[in-house]
Structures are given as C-alpha cells and as structure tokens.
Symmetry: C2
Subunit: 345 residues, 2 copies
C-alpha cells in the first residue's frame, strides 16, 4: 500500500498544497493508502444549509437534487456544496483498514460507524442514489468513502437505532459546545430552536442554566411555537422573524424587561441572520454561530456597525467528548428521544 499523509493531503488534486476540505477537487479512487479506512456507505446526512440550498435551486424537485448531488461528487470527488461550502456526514460499514492502522485503531472490518468529519473533505464515490428523504435531509446510497487517519468517527452504539444515532451525531458539536459555554444563571436565546440542533441545544442549555437562568427559544410561527412549548425545553418561547433583526431585538426586550441575553446560539440554516444574533445579545456577551450559512464579514462588520462589543464564535463541529455528550443527551431525555424517533427515524 502507498503511504498517506494523516490529513489526506495525498488525495488533493486541485489546488496543490491545500488540505482536502478547502480543495476544489480530491481523488475518490477507492484503492486505499496505508493509513486510510474504506467504508461501504449506507446513508449520507446532508448538512442542513447545503440541503436547503440544493432543494431551493432544484425548485423542490427531488430528481433534480439527485442529479445535482451526483454531479457535485463526480466533479469534486466529495459531497461539498459549491454555494454553501458545507457537507454533512455519513454512516456505513468498515470494509478495509490500511496496514499502518490495523494495530492502532479500535475499529475492525464489519463495524458500523458514523464519520464525524465533514463530507466536504471525505473522498466519496456514489454508484447510485437509492432514495432521498427531504424531511430529514438523508440520502440512501450505494457507494464507498474513505476515512483519513486524522478523521474522527463514532461506532454506532448498540442501545440506539442507527438512523437515530446518525441524526444526533450529525449535530454532535452543538450540544457539546453548549455544555462548555453556558453557565448557571445565564439567559440564553436559541435561534432556530425547533430544528434538530436547536432542540438539542435547548435541552442541553436548560440542563446547564440552573434555576436562575432562562432558555428562550425562537420559533417562526404559532404552530412551531406550540410544539416547542410542548417540549418544556425552554423557559420562554418567542415568535420572531430572523431576517428582521429589530423584530428579534424587540421580542427579547419584551421578554427580559428591556434587557438583552448573555448568549445567543444561532442554529438556523438560512443566510442573513447575523445581526439577528448580534442585536439581542448584551455588550460583553457571546454569540455562537452554528449555522453554516453564516457570513464571516456580515458578522464582523455587522457587530462593528452597530457598535456591539460581543464575542462571536465560529461553531466547531468537533470538541472533546462530543459524541458521548450528544448520545447521553438522547439517553437521558426521554422526551428528546421520543421527538427524534418521531422526526428522524
């Protein structure tokens, strides 16, 4: 077997010197290097911002989305949306392990795994798309993928259904970052609280704030607000238009008697919501952007433009123990698990 670089630079075709994630094109030749793992893929979970963009461009036509996914993977060697830059993750079965890794990895051939590195850097070959379930952004395929030596993964636990684990692990970073970030007594605004990562963040934030803080969940309409209230994950819920920052600010002022929140967590999947995250956050507070549709310049210049002294953090899908934290959340909250089973199985 040929010797590979831990970060997979040996697969970069264009531009040279780049790492696989920012690269325009990588090799999806399925003959593995000595430090790679070959995976027989069952499902892709497309990143929410990416799937929203694809579905919009295809005007809701799933056959066109299939065509677009096949085209992207053929051109780039990986499933990276050219507009959003984002990917998603996959679930599959270990088929072959490179010589160099056989003794060091805890994986063996036949193990069921979810890759926790983004599809935007994962060599992927799709023979056929069997089915797309647009409600949960899941693509069932016949295909193969490569996991690099530095790539993180999770073995699918035996006590959770595999599609349930996949749905949760897809956003594993979010609740784990909330656990690191939120302190007792904090007032937290969660934008996009009714989505997958939003629900997990609400549930985890509620656990962290104690009796003095407040979790405020934003929903886009009455129906979603009713659903959110039924979960009891939030202390307060608001209906606000995330494309209208002044509306969001007003609703938070109403809820907190003229004050702003300590931390805003953006779990949305549409563009242009930077200022809706910045304005309702107090000076000295934190804005955490999980949305892959976030624009760096809109956030940076937006905060400066309104003279807001907030710390703005780029959501990192990886943090220590994030798999454990996320799966435990599903195990500990029967309500969350029920919702996930209803929505994402």
């Amino acid at each position: 077997m040929k010797k590979g670089n831990p970060y997979g630079t040996h697969r970069v075709i264009e531009p040279k010197g780049s790492l696989p994630q920012p690269a325009l094109k990588i090799s999806n030749d399925m003959e593995i290097y000595d430090n790679e793992i070959l995976i027989d893929v069952d499902y892709l979970n497309i990143d929410s911002a990416s799937f929203t963009q694809l579905l919009g461009e295809a005007q809701g036509n799933i056959e066109v989305v299939k065509f677009m996914i096949m085209k992207i993977v053929k051109e780039r060697g990986k499933m990276q949306n050219p507009v959003t830059g984002s990917g998603g993750m996959l679930i599959g079965t270990v088929q072959q392990i490179g010589n160099k890794l056989i003794d060091s990895t805890d994986l063996k051939v036949g193990d069921k795994v979810a890759t926790l590195v983004s599809l935007s850097l994962t060599p992927l070959k799709i023979n056929m798309i069997k089915k797309i379930n647009p409600d949960i952004e899941r693509v069932e395929i016949d295909g193969k993928a490569i996991l690099f030596e530095s790539g993180i993964y999770a073995k699918i636990p035996s006590d959770l259904e595999e599609t349930l684990a996949l749905a949760a692990l897809d956003v594993a970073g979010a609740p784990a970052q909330v656990q690191k970030l939120v302190k007792p007594g904090d007032n937290i605004l969660i934008l996009g609280a009714t989505g997958k990562s939003g629900l997990m963040c609400c549930c985890k934030a509620k656990e962290m704030i104690g009796s003095e803080g407040l979790v405020i969940g934003q929903a886009r309409n009455e129906k979603r607000k009713d659903f959110l209230e039924s979960t009891n994950f939030c202390d307060k819920t608001i209906i606000a238009d995330v494309l209208d920052p002044i509306d969001v600010l007003d609703k938070i002022h109403e809820t907190l008697n003229g004050n702003e929140v300590d931390i805003t967590i953006n779990c949305l999947s549409i563009p242009n919501t930077e200022l809706s995250s910045i304005l309702p956050t107090r000076n000295g507070g934190i804005v955490y952007f999980f949305s892959m549709a976030t624009s760096f310049t809109k956030a940076a210049l937006g905060a400066e433009g309104v003279g807001k002294d907030v710390t703005m953090i780029i959501g990192n899908g990886y943090t220590k123990n994030h798999t454990q934290i996320t799966l435990d959340l599903l195990r500990d909250s029967k309500k969350l698990r029920n919702i996930f089973e209803m929505k994402y199985l």
Copy 2:
C-alpha cells in the same frame, strides 16, 4: 428634519427589513435625518482585503480601481466591496448635526473625526477621487458621508498627525482585542505580522505575555523577516507560506520543540488561510480571525476536518475603549510610531 432609526434602517432601499451593513443598496441622499451627522470627507481608508481584491481585479491599474470605487458607491450608496463584503473607514470634518443629537453629542460643527463604523454601512457620495495611494490603501476624495446615531467615531487627537491617527484607528479593534485575549505566559502566533494590524498586535501581545510567553511573528520572506526582527516586537520570527498549512505547522513545531501555540491571531488579507491558523494552535487554544478574507465554512469545517478542538473567534472591529488602547499604543511605543510615520503618513 425627518426622524431616523438609530441603526439607519430608514436609509435601506434593498432588501427592506435589512440593516444598512448587509443591505445591497442604501440611500446616499445627503439631506440628513434628525439623528444623523453629515461629514465632509477628506480620505477613505479602504479595508485591506477589499483593496487587495480591487487592485487584483484591476490588474494593478489605479485608474481602473478609481472607476471601480466610483461604480460601487454609485450602485450601493456605500463603499462596500461586492466580493469581500468589507469596507474600511473615513476621516473628515463635521458639517451638520441632526436636531435630535445637538444636545447629546460631544461633537460640534468643524470637528475633525474618524468614523469607526465600517464604510460597508456608511452612506457615501463621491464627487471626485483626487488621488489613490495604493501602498497605504488610502483614497483622497471630494465627497460627503453620513454617520448614524449608533455609529461610533473618534475625534482626531491633537498630539498625533491626522493621517497617522487614521492609519491606526483603521485597525483599532485588533490591538484592543489582543489586550482582552492574551494572558501572561501565553505563546502567540501572529500571521501577517509585518502588516499594519499585525505590527500593532505583535507590539500589544509582547506587552501582555510577560517574561514567560513568546510572541512568534510570521513573515513571508527574508526581507520582511529582517524588518520584523528589527522591531523587537517578537521573540521569534518564522518564514512560512500561509497557503500551506503543513509548512506553518512544521515551522511552529520547530520553534516550540514539537508543541503548538496557545493563541493564533490571523492578520492576513488573502483567502484560504483558515487551516494555517488552526493547525499550529493547540487543542483547547484560541484562533482569532481579523482577516476579512476569512471564510466561515472553511474555518468551521476545517477545524472539524482535522479534529481540532479550538475556539475560533470572528474579529470584532469594536470593543470597549478600543480607540484609546490603540492610540496609546502609538504614544507609548516610539518604535511603532516611527514605523507608522515612515509607512503610513
């Protein structure tokens, strides 16, 4: 006078409901609202990422850059680069103050001010571009601009030359954020250390780390490294290619006996440097992105892709007392002031 909104939403033409910064087009009608300030503009300082992009697209032709700036301002009502999304700032003289502000502002007609909100949200009308100095990204114009009620500004101090103050205030956020971020004993990597914000960050970081920490400045070639060493702002200097993350990582490993830094500060002005900032930073460390050429998704997915547990912060051009901190740095470091006088007057 008509009544205006503090954030300037009354000037947004497209799309409605947006704030002026993300808006595609705002009104640059120079009849002021009751909470606006009219400024007779002397100079624009174009943001470094924006100027680099304009100059590149114009293939170095300054007349073409002039044309492009006039066209952007005509189309958008503000100087916001459509590719980078960024702006810059301006210096000028207060010409008129809205009725509502006359009693509350500390400004009076005739005061010389620098606006510290981005040009990307500032209504601007250019009658003529007199001169462009590409070395310092400064555009001398005959024109007018509007400062909103929420807009931050600095009066030009009497003990510093006005172009010197402008050059420093343009990147006022950078050293002020370094002062908040860096602790004694930290090892700090500054990418783009020889540029304007890079030099200020090195100088401030050196002040903060004490005797145990190290400031490591990155330069792109021997000549710039020699210059950087002559400043004594850094404890170590490295030559590394910021488009090659493995090269940057190797150089840091060499410098720190196989370890990574605690904090990396990205002061570059070119795209695709996200992983060069992430890889040389230790797990649990911080990456601070000042570069307006940073891509949100490349940073987020890049860190996840290499399994790096770092906190990535979006550079905020505003923080409390940033003007004071920045101007004091110029006052306290004779060396820094000399360099600024040589390079930016």
